[in-house]
Point group: C2
Chain length 808, copies 2
């Protein structure tokens, strides 16, 4: 596959442009103008990193003009800005609808500089005006306490991708162009970022893109050469390996390599033009014929020196073209007067006096190079997704209700009717709602959705696919065995103004702990940015939950994602654990209608007993926590014990425990409480959903034992209730990391969340009961032992035990 | 690059073998024997999934012979076993030292079958003997309550990789062969697994493998075609794309595709032989010349039908060659007598009566096909790493001490001396200790290690690398910008009997929450497996911590990994937050010597004031929590308040708060407590390190206000102390998810963990103080406002404030 020539082709970033696409597509004058614009952006980048005053160097540079603490990243800026301004040219030429995604993240100066020169920055922040004063403030705020960060944070107009954590640029980009047929996401992929797992697999997103109904992603893999302190892998493999890799990922890579400005401008202009033309041709071919297909979409490999345009060496050490230019390129300007002079000379080499007029405004002939209004990548409305989001058309969820005449009789899958509800949501919102999952949608019993929206698939088709494969070019379900990629798609889809749902096995959602973390942080920060409109919530349905992963064993048992979520800001996270199918419907409806949250819904996919009819479910879910009167016998008096549960399986066992207790100790007054909305438990002072202490007391009492059976690790409930007066009386059971291959009841017994253990817990904690109920206690212990023995002998739980729950 | 032929080459798994390497390397008789062995393994796989009795079908198959609940995965078994037994042949031919890593994980039956046929299983579990009774027990225990799981769990001899969570086979394999020059890790990569991010980037591990001092990984990408309910991407792209992809990753892919047994046996035998020969040639070339290089290592792409050897169709639906064969291939045998007959016929088609003798033992001529003793992949000692682990040679850490004559005077980087200590550990253990990190080792101030062990690098070298690049073929530091890959390497390295340390930015350790989770589960389960010897601990050093990521902003601030760790079993997790450099040395020494834990050490990398001399540090760290007498003035009486801190920056602020209080309210009796070992806080009943209630009371009191300044999210402390009698008096401050670009003090103030807020908290909580100290309180508020204003104006904290801490 490799030819000798390719194998030996230089991997140095230096020299005149070496490019796949030849030709001089722009005139000398235009090159000169573009280079001036390029210089303007680079000047601004340095200004942001160094200056707090004297922004245009109208005076000689002095110490007092510098920031006290120098921060920010220079290394990636030139390559990113170079790409940005060349795409500006094509936006104007072809009237493109585009956004810019900055994968390296730390290159915010490049993006900020362009947003400022295009005028967008001053429009959203009038204080940062297009003049000397504005520029001074623009510089000073950067990486400055109380200012803006060195990533493409939510404060940055045009950004939907912060890049603080690396690896998600491509998946975010794809998410943004799905169902946006005219949009192009110009996406810079850092070669550091490219080493991450999430990025490495996200290249395959091209197998899920429909050239008729989706837009296009144009990735620019920026071979900047270095990470913080190391070379990058992709910059140090042979030309033939690199070309093969991208071809293998399904892309057509076009190379632009070098550092010599004029030929690089020509090469980049020709190459980008070629790529955009290719994209439009593929789209037109598919759209005219109505026949979708998977082209080898074009992408660019841009190799430039790290820190391009910085001094090549400083004090005999490489700066440009080495990792030393990663962050602040010359660090000692505050202490070395020699280097202060070097910096000044360097900054003046961009000739700011020729770029900005007397007021400090970009001169008109440069200003004219940028697109205007919404064609500016910094002002594309999709990057403020909330400004274009359309309300979901949602059918009345009550029409999907299970008919429940008596609690604990009907056995049904909680997902069954909810899947039909989701199917109809898909049907009613065919261009702005998608369901995402890592190969588990069918396994998670959501297959009903396929009736109206199959799984998007642009791989080869085989005859077997006709046999229930449910694959289609024009599907609405997105499945790839990469939690990272599907989460990234969903985030991009939402942030660009649409709606969606991720379904995932509970234990493996931990794989994207960090991504969800970062999305929460993005949402929270958006609340502080006035011009950002609220986007749809990111909805996560966790199923195949711990209590029904008994058969898959220990690796599949981890309900701890809730602990990660609970650390995020109360403004942006919600957690729901509906106890049955009707509650799940109500909760799902609520989540789909909400905005700016990460909603986590935990519900098992197996068949379970149903408890509430739809009216009761709606009331219960609206309150979020409540006493189930029908399961309680403390009406009109103080209970002896509160049996509480949160989660479907825990509720089941807790009800069975309540029944056992009421049968064997009929004089006991038992109150049964169910929690749907987890944050109800925390103090109202801590979370807007939290109960006040009075409300909490009215439900849980201050002084009675509470036997709380929780879906997840028990300590989360202690953490939530530590300030409640009665907290010492709350005994919480939950998953205690005790697992193996087991039966459902066996697993519960191991963790003491089963009916017998719960009833014993109650007896042990109700004052004065331990003697009178000693025989009952013995019997419960005996039943527990027998239940376990049966399971271990037969391999399944006894139907008689599992089917029994509520005899009253 | 693509030729028409390659592009159009069939991607069907059916037909006679299509292979890159031709030739018939084995005779017809040997093929026949190997196929019988193959059949024996497949028969066992089905037996495990279906039978609880009548293991060799000596009687007609009846309902009562079946398990009540059918579980287990069939789809991947045949391909894995096919590879396994063909490698057995080469182990015997070349006397290879090899282990088997099963990426798909769910294919445990294939691995278990081979371990059983080789006799290893019966050696470690004598009850599972090589006869009919043993086989019955072997079948019944599989995926059976109280038995073993359907993944390659720790109970499986020969396994170091469970595969319950997908994506880590390649990185584990590389970890196991580093510094094991004669070892070959035969690694099955599932095509589902291959879609995950961690797997997709781990192919690049070949840029970090030294052919002289490391062994080799031979990946077999198994194009099984389907995941749970979807086709796989890699099985549905063109031949040329797939070949290019692997070539681009730096491998030489050899194809073996088809389903026709005899030609497939020939093709696999020739191809594996070719690959092993290649590996040995590359190794010999490098070893003879002493000149390391990066070959394009061979790997195999094996395309077979999913569920190979199952019926092609059942009731007009595809079974073999489709995703329906993923799990239990015929599900309704308990209810359909027709299908019970189909199953029996299928099982009998393997002719068990010809494979096993009258006792149910594998016949000798088949037995002879497997290697013996430690050459069996199921019995390779490296897969029971604890059995070969050598104790680390560790220099006396006390010799690296900072000289601390007075607390709070010396300003030094906590990493500085520890880096020298680690350097000398590297030097003293040049073949069994490595340091891992995602491009942050230098940034994390551990660069001193480079003096004796540079960074392993097998990418191209450029002239700039001479300028402090610290790259080498024979390095000891492993850096790739993939937390997943470096963690996977480390896990593989440890599980195969060596030692190591991962250093990582604190916030981004969340990226591998799930991997660490799974490693903890592996370790815990190993404790129940008698023959598993203890391995070295997995040590994680978290630095660039939240409190000094003020400048990088919100995305870099997340100390929540501790919450994830805290949910794991007390038997396997330890968390240390040393307050200064000498304590860090002591803690690191302790962790490096420990075994079978995941040790998490949290320590910031910036310069900090030093508190304890080495003697005190050693005593303090050994206790894990203690009163700092020198900072307390309650000697001999009950304190008015306990100022407690856990973590270096929190300790600093807490001491400063104590100083402020003692200066302005000299009559106050203040006790200062520092916590190093986080689990000291929980009840002794919960964690072996936990303090008893008496011990806890002796330090924290039962009834005095405790102002506890914590490094991480504050709620973790409440969770840990919820059972303590005085818990209502514990006021915890910590990171409350309030972040932005800030100064260190500014960030602390935002989260109320700064000295002023802490002192105010104390005043507000000490009974009777609020009036008398009202003026002090006002002054503190004023100071807090001024500190913040200064920071926001100047861009840095005032040296006068930050340098001040302890005047006594």
């Amino acid at each position: 596959m490799a030819t000798e020539t390719m194998e030996n082709r230089s991997i140095s970033p230096y020299g005149p442009a070496r490019a796949t696409v030849g030709g001089n597509s722009i005139g000398k004058d235009e090159v000169a103008l573009m280079h001036k614009y390029f210089n303007a952006t680079l000047y601004l980048c340095l200004g942001m990193i160094y200056l707090r005053d004297n922004p245009l160097l109208r005076e000689p540079l002095k110490l007092e003009h510098l920031k006290a603490r120098l921060l920010g990243h220079w290394g990636t800026d030139a390559g990113q800005s170079f790409t940005y301004i060349h795409f500006n040219r094509l936006i104007r030429k072809y009237d493109l609808d585009a956004l810019f995604i900055s994968g390296p993240g730390h290159g915010a100066p490049a993006v900020l500089a362009n947003a400022y020169l295009e005028g967008t920055y001053s429009e959203v922040y009038p204080n940062i005006s297009e003049d000397m004063d504005g520029m001074r403030r623009f510089f000073k705020q950067f990486s400055f306490p109380g200012g803006i960060g060195s990533h493409v944070t939510p404060e940055t107009p045009g950004s939907i991708h912060e890049g603080g954590e690396l690896g998600y640029s491509i998946s975010h980009a794809f998410g943004s162009v799905f169902d946006h047929p005219n949009l192009i996401a110009l996406t810079i992929v850092g070669d550091g970022e490219a080493e991450t797992g999430p990025l490495a697999t996200s290249w395959h997103s091209n197998k899920f893109l429909n050239p008729i109904t989706d837009g296009a992603v144009l990735p620019v893999l920026h071979l900047n050469g270095y990470k913080i302190n190391n070379p990058t892998i992709l910059a140090r493999i042979s030309h033939s390996e690199l070309e093969a890799l991208l071809f293998g990922y399904g892309w057509t890579p076009y190379f632009v390599e070098g550092n010599e400005y004029s030929s690089m401008h020509q090469a980049m202009a020709s190459t980008l033009d070629h790529c955009v033309t290719q994209i439009r041709e593929y789209q037109q071919k598919a759209r005219r014929s109505g026949q979708a297909f998977r082209p080898c979409w074009p992408m660019i490999i841009l190799r430039t020196p790290k820190g391009w345009s910085a001094p090549r060496k400083m004090q005999d050490h490489y700066l440009e073209g080495f990792w030393r230019s990663h962050q602040v390129p010359i660090t000692d300007v505050r202490t070395s007067s020699t280097n202060l002079v070097v910096l000044e000379k360097w900054m003046r080499s961009y000739k700011p006096e020729e770029l900005f007029d007397g007021n400090g405004t970009l001169i008109k002939e440069l200003k004219d190079l940028a697109p205007t209004a919404h064609r500016r990548m910094s002002a594309n409305p999709v990057t403020n997704g909330g400004s274009i989001v359309k309300k979901l058309q949602i059918p009345d969820f009550r029409e999907y209700a299970f008919e429940v005449n008596k609690a604990g009789v009907l056995q049904a899958g909680n997902m069954t009717n909810m899947a039909k509800f989701l199917r109809d949501v898909v049907q009613a919102n065919r261009t702005n709602f998608r369901v995402f999952g890592p190969d588990e949608t069918e396994s998670n019993k959501l297959g009903a959705i396929y009736e109206v929206g199959k799984k998007v698939w642009f791989g080869t088709y085989l005859e077997e696919d006709e046999d229930g494969g449910n694959l289609a070019y024009e599907g609405r379900i997105m499945e790839m065995l990469s939690e990272h990629t599907v989460e990234g798609w969903l985030e991009g889809y939402i942030l660009s103004g649409r709606h969606g749902l991720l379904n995932c096995y509970e234990s493996f959602i931990h794989i994207i702990d960090s991504m969800v973390n970062q999305h929460c942080k993005w949402l929270e920060k958006c609340l502080e940015v006035e011009w950002r409109q609220k986007v749809a919530s990111l909805n996560i349905l966790l199923t195949a939950t711990v209590w029904r992963q008994d058969h898959n064993g220990f690796t599949h048992q981890d309900p701890g994602f809730l602990d990660v979520i609970a650390n995020k800001s109360p403004e942006v996270v919600r957690v729901y654990l509906p106890p049955d199918g009707n509650c799940l419907l109500s909760v799902m409806d609520h989540c789909l209608q909400s905005s700016n949250y990460v909603n986590v819904i935990v519900a098992d996919k197996q068949d379970h007993l149903q408890f509430l009819d739809m009216d009761d479910a709606l009331v219960h879910c609206t309150k979020g926590v409540g006493i189930w009167d029908w399961a309680s016998n403390d009406q009109g008096c103080e209970p002896d014990v509160v049996m509480a549960a949160c989660g479907d399986v825990p509720t089941h066992e807790s009800l069975a425990a309540t029944a056992l207790l009421r049968q064997s100790c009929p004089s006991l007054k038992i109150r049964f409480v169910n929690v749907v909305d987890l944050f109800k438990l925390v103090s109202h002072a801590t979370h807007p959903h939290g109960l006040s202490d009075d409300e909490f007391r009215a439900i849980f009492t201050d002084d009675k034992p509470v036997i709380f059976n929780f879906h997840s690790y028990p300590w989360l409930i202690h953490r939530f209730t530590y300030m409640r007066k009665g907290q010492h009386n709350i005994h919480v059971t939950g998953y205690r990391e005790k697992g193996n291959v087991d039966t459902p009841l066996g697993l519960a017994i191991k963790n003491e969340t089963d009916r017998f253990s719960l009833a014993i817990d109650a007896i042990d904690r109700i004052p004065g009961l331990s003697n009178s109920a000693a025989a009952v206690r013995e019997e419960l212990i005996d039943k527990r032992i027998r239940a376990r023995e049966t399971a271990y002998q037969e391999g399944t739980d006894s139907e008689a035990v599992m089917g029994w729950i509520w005899p009253f």
